[in-house]
């Protein structure tokens, strides 16, 4: 059986509780290679909890997250060892935090931030690491001359682009993104979205992107899930869901954006 016959990520009835309250309940979906899945909902809807469960950072109370590994087929990520999970996280997976300061090493240079994952998987040639860092700065539209600057000297938009480069340098198969444009100015957001769309397409990345901003999913996501109170209330192709929302909550969500 060929690995491409199967989804890259399969989520089955995923449930996470905080005490009595369900943070997310019975969430199921497949993510295929090259596909971008958007998850929208207001704060408290459970979308960030879902992302944390998917990215192996928060053990669920029920259900499974299966990942199509390179050599062992579909595996429940919560049944792999911590060593395997951590290896996945620095090779196959990427994670883009809403606040770039959570995803960057602020005390080391931009070049080292990009090079870290390469070194973590065994790169031992300084010149090559530096070349890769230079290339990636270019790809995320940061002036190469800033390779030795510390990230805290960067603007918010640049920090976010640096965080993206730091994740993509090892060519991950899946990238999890949590409000990647949150906290940025509108003009900066637009530029970042363009860049993300171009990178996702050219690298054939699979992405799960969580956001409250419908403009982000409109531009990036192929498919969409709308979450409310921990449950998926509606899902489908992005354009379909946004142009012809079926669920009352989705309708409200879409109309509130139009009015704004």
């Amino acid at each position: 059986m060929n690995a491409t016959d199967r989804p890259l990520l399969r989520v089955e009835r995923l449930t996470k509780r905080y005490g009595e309250r369900f943070a997310c309940q019975d969430v199921s979906f497949d993510l295929w290679p090259g596909e971008v899945m958007g998850v929208v909902g207001e704060s408290g809807s459970g979308k960030t909890t879902l992302l944390n469960c998917l990215s192996a950072r928060l053990g669920p109370d029920g259900g499974r997250v299966l990942y199509n590994t390179r050599h062992q087929g579909m595996r429940d990520i919560y049944e792999t060892s911590e060593a395997e999970r951590r290896l996945l996280m620095r090779t196959d997976w990427g994670l883009v935090h809403q606040n770039p300061r959570d995803g960057l090493r602020l005390a080391v240079s931009a070049g080292a931030n990009i090079g870290e994952r390469l070194m973590a998987v065994g790169a031992r040639h300084y010149g090559e690491i530096r070349q890769a860092a230079t290339d990636w700065l270019g790809r995320v539209e940061i002036d190469e001359a800033r390779i030795d600057d510390l990230p805290r000297a960067f603007s918010g938009g640049m920090q976010q682009r640096l965080q993206i480069a730091r994740n993509l340098v090892t060519r991950p198969r899946i990238v999890f993104m949590d409000e990647p444009t949150g906290g940025l100015d509108v003009s900066v957001q637009a530029r970042l979205l363009d860049l993300l769309r171009e990178l996702v397409a050219s690298l054939g990345l699979s992405v799960v992107v969580v956001t409250h901003d419908l403009a982000v999913v409109r531009l990036l996501a192929h498919r969409l899930m709308v979450m409310r109170q921990g449950r998926v209330v509606e899902s489908g192709l992005t354009d379909q869901v946004l142009d012809d929302p079926q669920h009352a909550y989705t309708q409200l969500l879409v109309s509130s954006v139009l009015q704004a």
Partner: protein, 366 residues
């Protein structure tokens, strides 16, 4: 018995009487004299003078006696006395380069001009209880050879030696015409200047600074320290009277100074240079001077372009919490009556519990 609602005055008077008795201890045992404390508990005396911010060994000895050896309490006594003193003059900065040195060590060079002078140190003693000290002994005659005064050799500071090659960052002289912050007269404000920081650290609690300095060594704000030089000895305090064209010496004080040499900074454009941290105490106070120097360097992080991430680098955290009087007072004030606040809480918690119980009962009845 704990003071009840009435009769507090009588209880306090009785407590003070008891305290005086406890302080004196068994009347069969001879009473301590101030010279005994000053001479034989001299390191306690210097700590009380340093953190009490008053150079007066006799009063410090008195404070220690009165405080029954509780040094934080003794520091409190001395500070409370100090604050009543009028200020006649402001001394010139002391010149530790002209110190009459009794101890001087550098961990950065095996030998230095003027040599390493071990002096009176615990450093290389084995910590084995010396049971011979248990009983008083007659004083041995001074060893003639040892008491031979050493030929005075110039002792340039290690910092100056490193500075000649530009290896150590220069000490910025600052604006001498600008008035210095004086923490004994003005409140702290942030960001604090280095002089305010050093004053606060000089008066700061030794234990607190020790732990903070230690935390930087263990990775919480690391700055690669080397003990460039520690020197201890007497320096002259001088004042410059307005009516005289030259300064006059008004006395000698014993101080310990630590010049810490720390990790180098540098970039492609600026050659690397070691950075410094500074510590100074009255008397012989090496542990405190070194801790102070480590914390001083840690607090310079912003100025040196380091990201503050650890407690020792957090100026507000360090300076607001380093003073033993403030800390001891506030922690111990919890012993004071809080009847009223607690009563208010009691009433509220009871009320809320009653309401909850009533609601449960109502639910059960449905």
């Amino acid at each position: 018995m704990y003071v009840s609602v009435k009769g507090g005055e009588r209880a306090i008077a009785a407590a003070h009487k008891l305290l005086a008795e406890e302080r004196r201890g068994d009347p069969e045992v001879p009473e301590l004299t101030l010279p005994q404390i000053e001479q034989q508990l001299s390191l306690a005396v210097t700590r009380v003078m340093s953190e009490g911010a008053l150079y007066d060994p006799e009063l410090a000895a008195l404070a220690i006696k009165q405080a029954r050896g509780d040094l934080v309490e003794a520091i409190f006594l001395l500070r409370a006395y100090r604050t009543t003193l009028p200020r006649f003059a402001t001394s010139l900065p002391i010149d530790t380069g002209r110190m009459d040195v009794r101890r001087r060590v550098s961990a950065t060079f095996k030998d230095i001009p003027g040599g390493q002078v071990l002096g009176p140190t615990f450093d290389y003693t084995h910590r084995l209880l010396d049971f011979d000290l248990a009983e008083p002994k007659p004083v041995a005659a001074p060893d003639a050879e040892e008491s031979e005064p050493q030929a005075a050799q110039p002792m340039p500071s290690v910092a100056a030696i490193l500075g000649q090659e530009g290896l150590l960052e220069p000490e910025e002289p600052g604006d001498e015409s600008a008035p210095l912050t004086d923490l004994t007269r003005e409140p702290l404000s942030f960001p604090a200047g280095r002089e305010a920081r050093l004053q606060a650290l000089a008066r700061g609690d030794e234990g607190f600074l020790l732990s903070l300095g230690y935390s930087t060594q263990r990775g919480y704000g690391r700055n690669h320290p080397f003990a460039g030089e520690i020197r201890m000895g007497d320096v002259t305090v001088e004042i410059q009277p307005e009516e005289l064209p030259f300064p006059i010496g008004i006395g000698e004080i014993e101080v310990t100074e630590c010049q810490m040499v720390n990790s180098f900074k540098g970039s492609k454009t600026k050659p690397p240079q070691f950075t410094r941290g500074y510590g100074l105490t009255f008397g012989h106070g090496e542990r405190k001077a070194m801790s102070m120097a480590l914390v001083d360097r840690a607090l310079r992080c912003r100025e040196l372009g380091e990201e503050p991430s650890s407690p020792a680098q957090d100026e507000e955290f360090v300076l607001y919490h380093c003073d033993s009087l403030e800390a001891s007072g506030f922690v111990q004030h919890l012993k004071l009556p809080h009847y009223v606040d607690f009563q208010s809480e009691l009433v509220m918690v009871r009320e809320m519990r009653e309401r909850a119980a009533a609601a449960r009962k109502a639910e059960a009845a449905e």
